[in-house]
């Protein structure tokens, strides 16, 4: 293949930037959607029904899967290349350069944590919802009870009544926060939309976006955990 998106460093980075940007947009949508669960189980389940095994939700899911695969495969290609470029002989002493964020140097590790969290999350929700419908079913057994494939609210309730899930999801969100605190401004730089005036603004935007995403997701997990503990609702 003789295309700059595949055979040049800047082109490969553009693929990272665009796939990352699309994932960020999706994740903002997902986070907003989750927030409805805090207010109304009915409203949340209505969204779940819309996103069942119908053609547009399936196309969307396939698109997202493709984005994750592309982002992940390119991350591996770029990182292996970078490891080689660093050379066989490493520095004996390394000091942190001033102004360089920890996240920016650990994007692959953070990304892999995000991916593991994603697989766990798919097994908790997607496998009990859209997958069940794809396979022609309408409900599945979760923790000894039958839950309908469109009853996302019940799945949330069940999943986050377990403390270990709460801990795992929070670790996942922290890793995502770090990944995006760098990724969200880096994607502009990679695409060429940045300069000295805009760096402070873009970095501020990255912190705001990643923090809102973190708080939005964490709120649902924590609220449902607390509800499960006091048993009042």
């Amino acid at each position: 293949m003789n295309c700059f998106l595949y055979n040049s460093s800047v082109g490969k980075k553009l693929v990272m930037s665009i796939s990352g940007c699309a994932l960020v947009l999706f994740i903002i949508f997902h986070m907003s959607m989750n927030l409805t669960a805090l207010f109304s189980a009915e409203a949340y389940n209505m969204i779940c029904e819309l996103l069942g095994a119908n053609w547009y939700a399936l196309v969307g899911t396939a698109g997202l899967a493709a984005l994750v695969v592309v982002h992940f495969v390119y991350a591996l290609i770029l990182s292996i290349n970078n490891y080689r470029a660093r050379g066989a002989q490493r520095y004996a002493v390394e000091t942190k350069e001033p102004g360089v964020s920890w996240a920016s140097k650990n994007m692959l590790v953070l990304g892999v944590i995000v991916l593991v969290g994603l697989l766990l999350h798919l097994s908790h929700f997607w496998a009990k919802m859209q997958l069940v419908e794809i396979l022609g079913g309408h409900e599945s057994e979760v923790g000894g009870q039958m839950i309908a494939a469109t009853d996302g609210a019940a799945l949330i309730q069940y999943t986050f009544s377990k403390w270990y899930n709460v801990v795992l999801y929070l670790i996942w969100f922290v890793a995502l926060w770090f990944h995006l605190s760098h990724g969200v401004w880096s994607m502009f730089q990679t695409a060429g939309f940045a300069n000295d005036t805009w760096y402070p603004r873009l970095k501020c935007l990255a912190n705001i976006v990643s923090t809102l995403i973190f708080l939005g997701f964490a709120a649902v997990v924590v609220v449902f955990f607390i509800k499960a503990q006091c048993g009042c609702c």
Partner: protein, 247 residues
């Protein structure tokens, strides 16, 4: 002042190197880092030993020859300074100082602390120039250039090609160097004409020579002795992507 030096010694490109420890004593605080190494070498020669090979030339921060990774930082402690501009007062009496050569797959060690930075020359030869004579000073003034553009071009042109950017980068990326060269010419009418060809040719050469992919850590700009901003990398990305999309 007295120092313990842990210096990378390597006979030639093929040999395996190792750290050796030396002591230097009675060094004045106003000695420059390279003069301190001169004093060490003087002692070594008197003892009949092989002096430490290291790169240097102008010793006033303009040629880019001096290198060295000192206590984990390219060009040692202090920002916007080359190694020849670092003085021993930056260190504490009795310190142990670790001195390593630039480490990057594209900069192989030739001997001790000297590395081959010819890869940067090859990138320059791939397109870091203006192909035709654009005449000398009086004629150049005949073309009005906005002050802001001229300033940005000059800021980028301050690059001395020292290699600290690739040596510091965890990805071994040469982007800051390439960006500085592309940017300094792209901002001037004489260089603008060949902008697209230049960006493509220099990036292609950089990739071919085995430099890594920039992940925007910003370590290069922190360690660049000339304070070149990664804003030039953003411009290089723009230049390159626009050129490719027009192909």
């Amino acid at each position: 002042m007295n120092f313990t030096l842990k210096i990378w010694r390597q006979k030639d490109a093929k040999s395996k190197g190792a750290f050796e420890t030396y002591k230097v004593t009675d060094i004045s605080a106003d000695t420059s880092f390279l003069e301190m190494l001169d004093i060490l070498n003087n002692n070594l020669v008197h003892e009949g030993k092989d002096p430490v090979a290291f790169d240097h030339d102008c010793r006033e921060g303009i040629c880019g020859m001096c290198s060295l990774h000192i206590n984990g930082l390219a060009h040692g402690p202090g920002q916007n300074a080359t190694t020849c501009q670092i003085y021993m007062r930056k260190f504490k009496d009795g310190d142990t100082i670790t001195i390593e050569p630039w480490r990057s797959a594209a900069f192989p060690v030739i001997k001790d602390l000297v590395v081959n930075r010819g890869a940067y020359d090859q990138i320059l030869q791939a397109g870091g120039y203006v192909s035709v004579r654009t005449n000398s000073v009086p004629d150049a003034n005949a073309i009005p250039i906005p002050k802001a553009d001229a300033d940005e071009s000059m800021d980028a042109a301050a690059c001395v090609g020292c290699g600290a950017c690739a040596a510091t980068c965890k990805n071994g990326s040469a982007m800051l160097f390439v960006a500085a060269r592309v940017s300094s010419l792209a901002k001037l009418p004489q260089g603008r004409v060949e902008g697209a060809r230049r960006a493509k040719a220099m990036v292609a050469k950089m990739d071919e020579l085995g430099f890594g992919n920039c992940t925007n850590t910003g370590a290069c700009q922190a360690e660049c002795p000339k304070g070149i901003s990664i804003a030039h990398i953003a411009r290089l990305n723009r230049e390159f992507l626009a050129a490719k999309l027009q192909d």
